[in-house]
């Protein structure tokens, strides 16, 4: 399949990319890794007349630990999955290493993924659970936007025309913190049927000081589950608390039936994923080295 014809513009810097895009107008798009955009272009669901290529801009792909974990927007998922700096927050590795398949992870970028704001994207629930900030650059200069204010709706971010993501900043969590991200997928290359991101910080006695629980995939944006967070607050982890978390998640989830599963199936899945993710997050917060993987139906 051939995409519709477009003119090619290679940017040498983010500021050049922004001026190119603003001059070209509404018929122009940025190209990051292309793993979502290229399929859309091939199906001609999107037919821009110009593409501004971000792939050849130097110094846009990096992972640095400098006051916070800083991930360049053009960093590929596979680079995050392999990064020792990112591995100190295992929830990031869970996410990066589980996106689609190896080939897609080698090209797809974290910046492109969140700029698309696809409700089935993996990064949003994880970056919400970890309280990340999105750094952007546009015609009016730089902005720092809380991820919760960045993703507005399905396929809609806070980016202005000709504005792009430059960096994701993930704050270093306090000691005795841990997180986990688990999705249920029909197979690797397809989008998940349900996913859950959990990040916790524990007191000295391993009771919960702070918890964030987000569901992915099941709504137009990632869904926070305050009732699950309240159930965990101040508690040691046990079967009763896990049962409350599961019930809260199943109560909050509002999935719709589609080819990825019926609404009831997804609700059940989210409940189970939440208990697995909470257990793994607590274990990691205690310092245990726990490997989690997505579940494949």
């Amino acid at each position: 399949m051939y995409p519709g014809a477009f003119a090619y513009h290679r940017a040498a810097s983010y500021s050049e990319a922004i001026s190119q895009l603003s001059e070209l107008g509404d018929d122009a798009k940025f190209l990051a890794g292309g793993q979502s955009l290229i399929p859309l272009l091939k199906l001609r669901l999107s037919m821009p007349r110009h593409l501004v290529d971000l792939n050849f801009i130097p110094e846009t792909s990096y992972i640095r630990s400098n006051g916070a974990l800083r991930i360049g927007a053009m960093t590929r998922h596979s680079q995050i999955a392999a990064s020792p700096d990112a591995a100190r927050m295992p929830i990031l590795r869970d996410c990066a290493a589980g996106i689609a398949d190896p080939q897609v992870r080698h090209m797809g970028t974290i910046g492109g993924s969140i700029a698309e704001a696809d409700p089935t994207g993996d990064w949003a629930p994880v970056l919400l659970a970890t309280g990340a900030t999105v750094k952007t650059l546009g015609l009016n200069g730089e902005r720092s936007i809380d991820i919760a204010d960045f993703i507005l709706d399905a396929y809609q971010s806070a980016l202005q025309p000709a504005e792009l993501v430059t960096e994701i900043e993930v704050p270093h969590p306090p000691t005795r913190s841990g997180g986990a991200y688990i999705a249920l997928k029909r197979c690797a290359p397809v989008y998940a049927s349900a996913s859950v991101a959990v990040q916790v910080t524990l007191h000295d006695d391993y009771s919960c000081r702070d918890a964030r629980v987000y569901l992915g995939v099941l709504g137009l944006t990632a869904t926070r589950v305050p009732a699950a967070e309240e159930a965990l607050q101040g508690q040691q982890l046990n079967a009763e608390i896990l049962g409350k978390v599961r019930a809260a998640v199943m109560d909050t989830a509002q999935p719709t039936s589609d080819m990825r599963g019926s609404a009831d199936y997804k609700r059940q899945a989210a409940g189970r994923l939440a208990t697995l993710a909470v257990e793994a997050a607590f274990q990691r917060a205690r310092g245990d080295d726990v490997e989690v993987t997505h579940l494949y139906a």
């Binding site: 477009f6 090619y8 290529d53 398949d101 190896p102």
Partner: protein, 164 residues
């Protein structure tokens, strides 16, 4: 409309040989390989980034060449299935797929070979789970995968442990 659009120069090393072509910007890497360079070993299967038949290595990493523009490979190095055999000697991964009959119709095989190469570079002694993760982006509609697993284990064992 396409005539009005300037072509883009793409210079890329494929299987060790340097090529340069002026192409339509919308040319995908798989079309560039097959139609510009006549390297038809890389197959188009689903053409939707699902099946992995079009898998090639770009700068040492597997990609789905139906979902990469040729211009994204500009200045880079591509390895396709045609680059595996040397002096008419099959690459050990190809030999293992042949010995274990890790295919039936063979359509998906070029992609599986590239993913196996990547897998064994990252995990020279892969576990069963490593193998499953490593070829998760490749689909075979004939074999049921058992002989593909066997071929990968055989390649990892350096050609020993050949079963049928």
């Amino acid at each position: 409309m396409p005539d009005a659009i300037p072509r883009v120069r793409v210079s890329v090393k494929v299987n060790g040989k340097q090529y340069a072509r002026d192409i339509e910007p919308r040319t995908l890497l798989v079309q560039f390989l097959r139609e510009e360079l006549n390297l038809t070993g890389t197959h188009i299967g689903c053409d939707t980034s699902y099946c992995g038949a079009c898998t090639v290595m770009l700068n040492g990493q597997t990609v789905k060449s139906c979902t990469v523009f040729a211009f994204q490979a500009d200045g880079g190095a591509v390895l396709t299935v045609e680059g595996l055999a040397k002096d008419r000697e099959l690459h050990p991964v190809q030999q293992a797929f042949s010995d274990c009959h890790g295919f039936q119709c063979g359509y998906c095989t070029p992609g599986f070979l590239m993913s196996t190469l990547q897998l064994l570079e990252e995990h020279p002694h892969p576990t069963e789970w490593d193998i499953r993760k490593g070829i998760a982006g490749n689909t075979c509609r004939c074999t049921g995968y058992q002989n593909i697993f066997k071929a990968i284990r055989t390649a990892a064992a350096g050609g020993e442990n050949i079963g049928h």
